[in-house]
Symmetry: C2
Subunit: 144 residues, 2 copies
Amino acid sequence: MLPESDTDDAYQLDAQVGYLLRLASQRHAVIFQKLVTAGLTPTQFSTLIRVWEQGAVSQNRLGRLAAMDVATIKGVVDRLRKKELVRSEPDPNDKRRTTIFLTDKGNALVSTLMQDGKRITEETLKPLSPAEQKTFLSLLEKLI
Amino acid sequence: MLPESDTDDAYQLDAQVGYLLRLASQRHAVIFQKLVTAGLTPTQFSTLIRVWEQGAVSQNRLGRLAAMDVATIKGVVDRLRKKELVRSEPDPNDKRRTTIFLTDKGNALVSTLMQDGKRITEETLKPLSPAEQKTFLSLLEKLI
DNA sequence: CGGGTATCATTGGTATACAAATGATCTGGC
DNA sequence: GCCAGATCATTTGTATACCAATGATACCCG
């Protein structure tokens, strides 16, 4: 009897891309937490980089740039503001908008964070050879 | 001036493995939600498969098998119980433990879910050629 | 210029996800 | 047999993450 399938292949959770992506993200999160400055989370990190890239950006647009829902980006910005890494101001030209900026403290942190980010990526990819790393990243980009 | 780095390489958030993993997971989540039966989440799906593989399993061990924290697995099991896909019983041999089982309804769902799972993985990997898919999965496994 | 449509930020709801602390229970070693 | 250390499940707290609804505002087109 083969109750689990109408083909010869048994289902293997451990071979499904979604499950593997979750495990890889978990491992990355551990490495991130160990190596990042100032106790930032990966989401806060990405958000800060995007603000730095933009200089000034509305909150919703920041969410799109950092790939976050409006509700998610709000919470992230709130917490970055509490850490005094960003500040927000109402847009004088559009009363719907709030513009997000880096504070001096946030600005001073960015170059350190970029160094952190490189080491985090290095450490995460360490199980792969340099050639494999290149291949992996390029396939991962194709997947998005 | 190169304010962002002491090397020639500018920092690219879009090239960092953690950020790419997050985007890939987001895309997978959308595909998952579209193709899965019974409105399950990826976590609930994985948990249900693990219970099916084990037949009977304590809640904490189930968490380890499905790669979830004790607090996370508790919530997942609670919600699966509310959907009447699993049931739990106190372990007569160890009063600390709660044993988790599939209900008949849960058991009946599993083979459908496995078919779903295969289609979800297929759809997620679709941007890659068959050879690339194999390479990607094998590199992803190496990364964990 | 006025009204329908789009965008913005917020809010409430649900679901992961993990750390830390707690009380109950079990187990290994003496 | 007892006790120190381990394990189990729960709870609390924080942080993503997304959907849906809402009210305010902006924009476009006729």
